[in-house]
Symmetry: C3
Subunit: 138 residues, 3 copies
Amino acid sequence: MRSYRKELLFNVPSRRAFINITGQVEECLRESGIREGLVLVNAMHITASVFINDDESGLHRDFEVWLERLAPHEPVSSYRHNVGEDNADAHLKRQVMGREVVVAVTGGKLDFGPWERIFYGEFDGRRRKRVLVKIIGE
Amino acid sequence: MRSYRKELLFNVPSRRAFINITGQVEECLRESGIREGLVLVNAMHITASVFINDDESGLHRDFEVWLERLAPHEPVSSYRHNVGEDNADAHLKRQVMGREVVVAVTGGKLDFGPWERIFYGEFDGRRRKRVLVKIIGE
Amino acid sequence: MRSYRKELLFNVPSRRAFINITGQVEECLRESGIREGLVLVNAMHITASVFINDDESGLHRDFEVWLERLAPHEPVSSYRHNVGEDNADAHLKRQVMGREVVVAVTGGKLDFGPWERIFYGEFDGRRRKRVLVKIIGE
């Protein structure tokens, strides 16, 4: 069994953003040389997500509006976590979108359906954050 | 390390449905001959889910009503994604229910608690769609 | 490839609770002797979750209030699943928080960001329940 590890770095200038990281994960897979196995891609921070969905800007706007309805940022004081912080909503939004994805590796490629793309979801940006790519297989 | 891959095919006649696929995943595991490892089961489409919960029709009706309340299909025009499409709600519902499950394989069996069953969740059916089963181990 | 399996046992005296199980998973990892691979940690019951977030009591109170708003326990009779049961909301809450986490193992440690901690989320306690820890690697 072989394994590979890499951290991807982000410093999003806005509070929230969705960033397509599929190409970066494919580059990791090429570097690893692994042809059969599993890739784990996870946010290393608890106010961010890694998820798989469509690379379509209208949908990303729909996600933003929907998450703000399910777990609004304001009023900041409505959350007990927000003592000297204002990011409680980011912890909640991340639960809806998920921490991680696990993707099959087949024949040296991400084994994807036609529209699957991997995204980093930032819910409390304006600081340096990391995503972990771990690949095991052979 | 050994690996196994299979696609399960679906063509659900309705827009939404929950289908118990536990037996199909068990059949894959038998075919693989793998006795210790992990099974990844994921939707290959971004308007569908794979999840683990109870095989109980009342609960499935509760899921349907609840998801429609969290991410309503109508009004279709309220979503920016719905330009020539009407499935934005399906992309959102799939995030709540999840894309994938990872299940332990122990002694050649799915290592499950008493009521765990694997479901395919369709949120935009009436077309051909796929689920990927990838098993690694030995 | 090596594999390791252990069940963690819980009997939460209240209906709902969040319990930090990071130390127990680290103990499993030490016992396994595995240095590179993946850990799967999953609830074996369908009214409970395993998730990764912050070990902060204010945030846990925010999760409790938020989940009760998204999937209220009362009125119990509003759920079709609740025929002789009262835990339909627990099945829904578990979908929001997730069944499982997959964590990278690097150099014999859980490969975590600074604030990542693993929690057992109980939504229908007052009975004996289990969490599965499965580790594969070498």
